[in-house]
Amino acid sequence: MITDELRRDTVLGFLKEGKRLSGRAFDEYRPIVVEKDVITSAEGSARVRLGNTQALVGVKVDLSTPFRDKPDEGTLTVGASLLPLASPTFEPGPPDENAIELARVVDRGIRSAEAIDLKALKIDEERVWGIFADIYALDHDGNLIDASALATVAALDNLKMPKYVDEQVVRETAMTLPLREKPVTFTFAKIGDSILFDPDYAEEVAMEARFTVAVGDEYVYAMQKAGRGSFTRKEITDLIDAAFAKRKELLRYL
């Protein structure tokens, strides 16, 4: 959008004076709201507001077959839809590279952390539970990755697990599946020489490069650099440190 491109100069102008358009500090996240169990038809769900950005995640648990090379494990599948209603820049259609990247990056953090005990999802020799998490971007004001990752972890925690009884799936059970680990995902935007935490939409349009890292208390679980810009090795190392430092702050919402 032309107006977004024009705003790029404004963003850069502010940055030269050490300021963000919104008045936030460079390392400040927007206000976060996490609501769980918002979709009753789903086995797990959460809506996250990150400033004006909104992401909804619904999780379904269904009968499935295991992957050939992991016959004793259930499956986790993460999908993402950048709904046209979320942004004038999103068009209807199958997931494009941005939706695919979003889903795969969120998936990576959770899978690497082994947050879900996939072995606990085995039913019998042929059947396993498949967990299907779908990210629905509802409002895009920047940093859909962090909003979606937070919503996905929140939605996956304490899933209402169905039972398989007499060859039927029974959904009304009291069983829940708590997560073993809660990865937190942090995204940073590089604009000129400045690096900003939690970019809003105007900053994302202006940014040259983006770095996302998912961390636990001790481990880095996933990293993804995007954009045509670049980072120095030191910048990457410093951002990883920053993610660890900020983890407790975001963990409060989970």
Binding site: E101, A113, Y219, V220, K225, A226, S230, F231, I236, T237
Partner: protein, 276 residues
């Protein structure tokens, strides 16, 4: 599956050792530039078309060339099952991050209103294919004469049996504890691509970076050698003409322009698919 036996990996390498690599540039006739790499058991071919007309028209950028990249694995590229033909979610994501590597180094402002198309095909895959693909595409871009700020080099690293190693083969990627792919601009050391999954402490991340930067030097030298080999016949022709005191118009008007002779950067050709 155990991956390290007595300090050696299952293919006999030590932790900081690259696989055997052979590179060729300019091996395709129709493409504006091309590269082919045999990296361990990987066989990867890359081609560049461009600068050329942008189709579809509405994707044209009036200020600079549009860079597009496509990474694909052939249905026969895996030891295991027959793959589907065509892109899947994984190859679409890889295509995106690969494109972003080249968007960084291509001086796109030189060719407004054009497209520079990069095609990477994994003919035989055995771990770290996106890295080999990037290295082959770098060859193709230089062979196509596209102006670049730097020649990207990509290397993988990971954690196997609890220790960090460089250049992961498929088994190490599948059964190891972490996998990382990184592309750098060799002259500045800037990170152009970085993806990682698994579990690494910060110290392990640093160790992986160390190994990657070290190996990148070695791979870059091979890229340069392959490109020099590509232009060796023309270089020879020009030097001979200079020795005989010919004027440039005499040299270049004299004979049919010869197609670049493909020559491997390594002396021993092992047969197989290669262009030896």
């Amino acid at each position: 599956m155990q991956l390290i036996f007595d300090g050696k990996r299952i293919d006999g390498r030590s932790l900081d050792e690259l696989r055997e690599v052979k590179m060729w540039a300019g091996i395709l006739n129709k493409a504006d530039g091309s590269g082919y790499i045999e990296w361990g058991k990987n066989k990867v071919i890359a081609a560049v078309y461009g600068p050329r007309e942008v189709i579809p028209r509405h994707e044209t950028d009036p200020y600079k060339a549009v860079v597009r990249a496509r990474y694909l694995m052939a249905p026969f590229s895996s030891l295991e099952e027959h793959g589907r033909q065509g892109p899947n979610r994984r190859s679409i994501e890889i295509s995106k991050v690969v494109r972003e590597v080249f968007e960084n180094v291509i001086i796109a402002e030189s060719y407004p209103k054009t497209a520079i198309d990069i095609f990477i095909e994994i003919l035989e895959g055995h771990g770290s294919t996106r890295c080999v693909g990037i290295n082959a595409a770098s060859l193709a871009l230089v062979a196509a004469g596209i102006p670049l700020r730097d020649i990207p080099v990509a290397i993988s690293a990971g954690k196997i049996d609890g220790v960090i190693a460089v250049d992961m083969i498929k088994e190490e990627d599948n059964f190891g504890q972490s996998d990382m792919a990184m592309a750098v601009a060799p002259n500045s050391g800037d990170v152009l691509l970085l993806q990682m999954d698994g579990k690494l402490t910060r110290e392990e991340v640093a160790r992986a970076f160390d190994l990657i930067y070290g190996a990148a030097k070695e791979a870059y030298a091979k890229q340069v050698a392959a490109l020099k080999a590509l232009y060796a016949p023309q270089k020879e022709e020009i030097e001979e003409a200079e020795r005989e005191g010919e004027r440039p118009e005499e040299t270049f008007g004299r004979s049919e322009p010869s197609p670049p002779a493909p020559a491997p950067s390594e002396a021993e050709g092992a047969g197989g698919f290669g262009y030896a």
